[in-house]
Amino acid sequence: MKRLKRIRIVVAILFFLAITLIFIDINNVVPAGVCLFFGSTQIIPSFMRTLTVLSAASLGFFLVSILTILFGRIYCSTLCPLGILQDIVIRVAKRIDRRRRFKYKKQHYILHYLLFVVTTILAFSGSVILLNLFEPYSNYGRIVTNLLSPLVVAANNAISYLLGAFGYMLIHEIPILNINFITVFASFCILVLVTYLSYKHGRLFCNLLCPAGAYLGLLSRFSFYRIVIDGGNCKECGLCDRVCKAGCINSSSKEIDFAACIGCFNCIDSCPTNGISYQRRWKRNTSESSKADTGRREVLKSSVLPALGLLLPVIGDGKSEDKSKNGYIENRKYPISPPGSLNIERFSSLCTACHLCISNCPTQVLFPSFLEYGITGVFQPRMNYDIGYCNYDCSYCGNICPTGAILPLSYSSKKEVQIGQVQFVRDDCIVVKNEKDCGACSEHCPTKAVYMVPYGEFLMIPETNIDICVGCGACEYVCPAEPNKAIYVKSNKVHQKALKPKTKKAEPIFDSSQEFPF
C-alpha cells in the first residue's frame, strides 16, 4: 500500500519532465507524435479534441474519465503538470519550514462548481476565456513558454558564445523573436498566484479554480477505489490530516471528502498504524453536499447567466480597417489564425492557449495574442508577420495541437489553404517612391502570387494574384518600405481555398551540344 506514493511520484516526475521538455523544445528535436501524445493525456485539451476531430488523441479524455471513476483523481497528482508544479512548491515550502502542516478544511464546493458551470456554459457558447484562465495544462504551458523557455534559450546562447570563444561550434545561437511581454507578465502573475496558493493552502487552486479539478471531482464521487479510514486501526493521531494537501481528511470524524482528494497517497504513507487505506468502495453513503449544491446551481444559473453575455465572444471588435492613411494596416481588423484552424471563430472557441505551437513553431511566426481575438480569446496564438512568416512546406503546428483547434494538415493540403490575402499598396512601394528595383516580396513568395512586371523602361514592380495566395506573410515580412510596408496580408476570417499555382514548363535556353554564346 505504501508503494502507491512512490509509484505516483515516479509517474509524476516522468510526465512533468516530458511536458516541460515539449514546451522548451525550440529545435523540434522531440517528434511531433510525442508532443501530441503528452498533450492528449491532458483532459481538457483532449476533450476539446473530441469536439473537433475524433482521433486517438481524443481518447485521453475518455481514458482519464474512466481512470477517475475507477481510482479517483489520480490524474491531478500524476499527469497534470500544474498539479506537479504545486507539489514541488509544497515540498519546497516544507523544506523551508519543517513544522508546516495542513489541516482539514471545508471545501469551497459552491464557488468551485459555480465557476465550473459558468466556465462550461461559456465554453459551449464559444468563449473559452475562463477555461483558458484556469485550465491547468495550458497555464503550465504558458508558464514554460513565456518564462522558462526564454531563460533556456538565453542559457543556450551563453554556452554557445563561450564554446565559440574556445573554438567549438557545437551549438548555435537561437534567436528569441516571438515574445509578447503581455503574456509574459500574465504567465508570471499566474505563476505567482499558483505558487502563493500552494505555499499557503496546498492544492487550493485545484479545488477552487481548476475546471478539470471540478469535473474530475464530480466523477470521483462515484469512484470504485477510494481512500477510507479504517475504524479499527485508526488511532486518531491526525498525521494524515497534516499531510493532506487538499485538506480533505477529517481524522476526528474519520471522514474523507473524496471529491476533493487529489490522489497523492501521502496519507497512506504517513499512517503508522495502517489506519487509512486505499480500497474498493463498500456500501457507503456519498456525502450529502453534492445534492445541496446541484439545487443551488440551478438558481445561480438563472441569475448569473444574463451577466455572462459580457464574456461572449466578440472577435476583433472596435478596430476599423484602413485606419492608416497610407493604406498599410497597423491594426488588422482580424488577426490571422494559423492554417488548419479553418476560421477565426472556430479557432478562438477551441484553443486553450497552451502555447505549444508557439514554442514549437520552426519560423517563430506564431505569436501570443492579447486582445486581438477579443477578450474571450486572450493569449491565443496568431500569425505575426513582423517577426517571421509561415514556411510553405511546414504544417508542424497542426500536428502537435492537442485541442484540434489547429487541425493536422498534410503538406499538400496546407498549400491549398488561404489564411489571408495579399494586398499591395502601390504608392508605398520602393519602386514607385525611389524609382529603384527591389522585388523582395516577389522573391520570397512561394507561389508567385506576387510577381514582377515591367514598370517604366527599366524597372520591375510587383503585381498580385490573390487566387493563388496562401497568406503566408513572406512578402509582408521582407518588405523593406518605411514607414509603412507596401505589401501586407489581410486576414481571412474564414479561411479560403488557394488555387494551385500554375506554371508552364520553362523553355530550354542552352544545352551542352550548342556552342557557348560568348
Binding site: 514556411n391 522573391e443 551542352s512
Partner: protein, 306 residues
C-alpha cells in the same frame, strides 16, 4: 577596414570577441596569388556532371592549388537561400559544393567552412537543399549565420549607396573565400549570379532593397572580392526565380563557369541565360566602376566540352 584593423579594433573593444574569432577560425595571414599568373580569365565548361566539370575547369586554370595553400582556412559560400530540394535549382547544386570542398581539402586546406544567410528558415534550408549533408560528407564544416551576433560591422567609404555592412565573421576569419553561386532568374534583379550571391554574406539586406539594390550589389562587389567564383549552371531556374514554384521552372544546362572576376563570370552567365548582361544593372554598374570586366571579347577564355 582590413582584417588586421578589424582584429585590433576587436581586441580593443572586447577581448572576448577577439578571442572568439581568433579561437574559432585562427586567422592566418598568408600570401595570395595575383591574377596575371593564371592562364585564363574565364573558364567555361559544359556537358558533364558537376564534379567532372569542376575538375576539368580547375585543371585548365592551373589547379585549385593556385588559390588554396596548405594549412589555409577556406570559406565556400554557395547559395542556400531557400527551403527547396536540389532539383528545384533554388540553391547551389550540392554535388558541386562537395566537389569544391574536396578539392580544397586535397590542396591542403586545414578547414573548409560553408554558410549562407538564408531567406527561408535556415535549418530547413541547410537540410533540404542537400548542402548540409554534402558539406559533412566532403569533410567541411557548415556554420550558422542566422543571428546578428555572427556578423561584424565593416565600412565601405567609397560606396555610392552602400557605405556600411555587417559581414559574417567567417569572411574575416578565413584566408580564402570561394564564391559558389547558382545561375537563376530573379524577380528583383533579373538574374542572380556571383555578385548577387554575396548578399548572403551580410546581415541587413533590407537596407540594400530600400536604397538602391543594384548599386548596393555593385558597391559590395567592389569591397569584397572572392578569390574564385564558380557558377553552377547545371540546373538553371529559368523563370519564377529566385525561389521558384515547381520543377517546371527548371531547365538542364549542364554548365559551369569559373573566374576570379565576378563581373566577367556574371557577364558570361547572363549570356548563357540569354539575357543581355547590360540589362542586369548591377553588372553594368560594377563594370563602370572598374570592379571587373564585361568585355569578354578581349579576355582569355577557355571553353571546354565534355
Amino acid at each position: 577596414m582590413d582584417r588586421r584593423t578589424f582584429f585590433r579594433k576587436g581586441f580593443g573593444a572586447s577581448i572576448v570577441v577577439g578571442a572568439a574569432l581568433a579561437g574559432r577560425y585562427d586567422n592566418l595571414l598568408s600570401a595570395s596569388f595575383t591574377a596575371d599568373e593564371l592562364p585564363f580569365d574565364l573558364v567555361a565548361v559544359k556537358g558533364g556532371e558537376p564534379d567532372v566539370m569542376l575538375a576539368k575547369g580547375m585543371k585548365a586554370l592551373g589547379g585549385i592549388g593556385k588559390f588554396v595553400r596548405k594549412g589555409q582556412k577556406v570559406l565556400v559560400k554557395p547559395n542556400i537561400g531557400w527551403d527547396v530540394s536540389p532539383e528545384r535549382a533554388g540553391n547551389t547544386n550540392p554535388k558541386l559544393v562537395t566537389a569544391v570542398i574536396r578539392q580544397c581539402l586535397d590542396a591542403g586546406a586545414s578547414e573548409v567552412f560553408v554558410f549562407d544567410h538564408t531567406c527561408d528558415n535556415w535549418q530547413r534550408c541547410y537540410k533540404n537543399s542537400g548542402i548540409e549533408s554534402a558539406v559533412k560528407d566532403a569533410g567541411g564544416k557548415i556554420a550558422p549565420a542566422h543571428t546578428e551576433g555572427y556578423y561584424h560591422e565593416a565600412s565601405i567609404p567609397w560606396g555610392k549607396s552602400l557605405t556600411k555592412v555587417k559581414e559574417h565573421e567567417l569572411l574575416l576569419g578565413t584566408d580564402v573565400f570561394i564564391n559558389v553561386p547558382i545561375l537563376k532568374s530573379h524577380g528583383g534583379t533579373r538574374l542572380t549570379i556571383a555578385m548577387k550571391n554575396q548578399m548572403g554574406n551580410v546581415w541587413d539586406r533590407g537596407t540594400w532593397h530600400r536604397t538602391d539594390l543594384h548599386q548596393c550589389i555593385a558597391d559590395y562587389a567592389g569591397y569584397r572580392k572572392p578569390a574564385l567564383n564558380i557558377v553552377d549552371a547545371y540546373y538553371v531556374m529559368k523563370q519564377n526565380g529566385p525561389r521558384g514554384v515547381s520543377v517546371e521552372d527548371v531547365v538542364t544546362m549542364k554548365s559551369l563557369l569559373i573566374s576570379t572576376d565576378m563581373v566577367t563570370v556574371d557577364t558570361a552567365a547572363a549570356k548563357l541565360f540569354g539575357i543581355e548582361p547590360a540589362d542586369v544593372r548591377h553588372i553594368q554598374l560594377a563594370a563602370d566602376q572598374k570592379i571587373g570586366r564585361m568585355d569578354l571579347e578581349n579576355l582569355r577564355i577557355e571553353r571546354i566540352t565534355i
